[in-house]
Subunit: 408 residues, 2 copies
């Protein structure tokens, strides 16, 4: 899969947040969850450029509020993340707990408190079990190592079935730059800002503002294009740390080197985002949706969002049914400008709608395409040049089972 | 349930579209479906005032386009409806078929073609099997009778588990007015215009424009407040015929009599709408959501819509879990103005959120309330005087099962 999205000159490699030079990570069990790893730490060997994107949800978790404040400086050195408890809707106590979490890590690492970012994921509304976290932080710091990326990727999971790691390398001005990343997420996944938790690391030298710009582009083309269930979390966060230790000439200008780096960052983010969709709660099948011919890219995205979040489209995807009528109904209610009689649609390359009506009474070929592990749907609205590509998972009985009992 | 929504002076009675004087109905099997009744006819004994509200979906089924045109006159005498095929995304042929359906009924009834309205519901994208419909229409006309309301209510069903009928009576200026209705719908149900198919009949005398106004109010307070799955159909239609045969003084002014009639119409529509939610595909539990304190009623509805369509809230409802964090997350992403730290929430009257955080660590009482067949959730945003009351069903494994294989 990764090969299909890597831009020219970028090689996707096996790896994660510790693949770039000068990063260590750890993932331990501290007791927020019953038994699994629940505390992750990523630390750079030196103060790094830092950028972050956060949930657009008006109900923001305490660690989001704390990290939003800290990231203003454009520099950071470490990120601490717990899973199992979102520290959201926890008021003043939650804010204090998030600050304490970062302060404890700072103290153990010997760096200033303002350079430690914090994130949480899990159940909303319960106070963080700080005794467990306080006891776990020294052990996480102890466990930090250049091979710790996989443990960290495991420690940020909630309902995920597997950890998500990706890495890429590219040459920038004759210097090898490495980018690594990890993400979590299987529910509350929707294309609206920096969905899920994700940490990206790189040994490239790039100032904070430029890093933020590259990160924004990468997230817009990856995490902002996926949907599992249409719910946007209170805790969504994407961090990127760049420690400059590979020795490239700093990426200060909007030149070819910057574009290459941005493309590689987007490549890693897209690989992670697709892993999140593939691991969508209860997902059995993943669809790529390409919308073309909208009046604008915003309208293409609006159409795609209506389709990707439609329970009827998602259950049809799960059932392997080429039910294009449900896609048409979702397009029609999207609010985007459409002329139904101009719409064309393909499933797995097979024409199913031509000028708004059935392209053929025989759906056998489309049905076969619909039953693969990956399904490609294309829509052409024939109104303009707006396009959008998104990825979404199906809605299965397993999704319902996972979520009917998640609280208790 | 009905008693809770009947306005003062209005008595809910057992009955349906043939309860008012001067209406006959029928429901027969013609062969669109394999075995069940699939062709419904409702006819007034004389030309009646008529009003209709239709889907806001940009992809409109052929019968919607045809009936939208016919209803401009404000009068009609009969309505023909088939189930099993939506006659949507069927192009010019679909338009011709919808017109033919109405013309055949007109010919058999001996009324002008323009006075017969038409609706369809079922699978999108296949041509109507007109041979079956042509053969069925004479039989439906033959079967018309004053006891045919139940057969008609059965003939408009698709994935519904049971027919939906309601009726009410009230005195208007010393004259007994009766209102009857039937509805279908269990999926593609979402608060956006006149969701589902619904036929309302009354023997009141009320001109077309006033009838339309009363219908708009009734639908805004009923069908526009329910959600099963967030999908808005291509075929949503609500018709109302008023034949004036009860002999009241025509409801031409905006006086108390008009308000009483409007209230009773809303009562019948609300009873039907709640039956639709209760019969939501796979639904095991229904929730009433009351949002108060929003900056406006529009914002209250926006908040309610986000909550009522959230898969995570709906699966929690199915699981009987008082997972208020998911409700908070949905409120936060709704786009309405909220101050998280002011939000209060109750489940079954039990406070679960106070000032944006847990009202109590003990959720036992809320959990008990959440496990009833009907659950009441209240939200107070404490920002203004906007309110909205809506009804929604849970998301269960049965919903997925119903929809994964609906096409074939």
């Amino acid at each position: 899969m990764a090969t299909t999205i890597s831009p020219a000159g970028v090689e996707m490699i096996a790896g994660g947040v510790t693949s770039p030079k000068g990063f260590r990570a750890a993932g331990v069990h501290c007791g927020v969850k019953a038994a699994k790893r629940d505390l992750a730490l990523v630390a750079a060997d030196r103060l790094s450029s830092a950028a972050g994107l956060f949930t657009t949800n008006a109900v923001k978790a305490a660690p989001v509020l704390v990290s939003q404040e800290k990231i203003q400086s454009g520099v950071a050195q470490a990120i601490v993340i717990n899973s199992g408890n979102a520290n959201a809707c926890t008021g003043a106590q939650g804010l204090g707990d998030a600050r304490d979490m970062a302060a404890l890590v700072a103290c153990q690492l010997g760096v200033a408190e303002e350079f430690v970012l914090v994130a949480s994921t899990g159940v909303i509304g319960s106070p963080l079990p700080m005794a467990a976290i306080r006891a776990g932080i020294p052990r996480a710091v102890q466990a930090l190592g250049p091979e710790g990326g996989a443990d960290a990727a495991n420690a940020i999971l909630t309902t995920d079935a597997y950890p998500k790691m990706a890495a890429a390398q590219l040459e920038v001005g004759g210097v090898l730059v490495t980018i690594g990343g990890m993400a979590k997420g299987a529910g509350m996944i929707h294309p609206n800002m920096a969905t899920t938790l994700c940490v990206l690391t790189t040994d490239a030298a790039i100032p904070g503002p430029q890093l933020r710009e590259a990160l924004r582009k990468a997230v817009d083309a990856s995490f902002n294009c996926i949907s599992v269930d249409g719910d946007t979390s209170t805790n969504d966060t994407v961090f990127c740390l760049a420690n400059g230790m590979c020795g490239n000439a700093p990426l200060v200008d909007h030149d070819r080197a910057f574009d290459q780096f941005s493309g590689a960052l987007a490549g890693v983010a897209t690989a992670l985002a697709k892993m999140v969709v593939r691991d969508g709660e209860g997902a059995s099948r993943v669809a790529t949706l390409i919308v073309r011919g909208a009046r604008s890219s915003e309208e293409a995205k609006r159409v795609a969002t209506a389709v990707m979040t439609s329970p009827l489209v998602k259950t049809a995807l799960g059932g392997g049914e080429p039910n294009w009528g449900r896609v048409m109904a979702a397009v029609g209610r999207s609010g985007a400008g459409v002329h139904p009689e101009r719409i064309d649609m393909w499933i797995g390359g097979v024409p199913v709608v031509r000028n708004g009506i059935a392209a053929s009474p025989d759906l056998a070929a489309a049905a076969a395409a619909m039953r693969g592990a990956e399904v490609e749907m294309q829509l052409d609205l024939h109104l303009g040049s707006g396009t959008f590509t998104g990825w979404f998972s199906d809605l299965t009985e397993a999704y319902v089972k996972v979520n009917a009992g998640y609280l208790t």
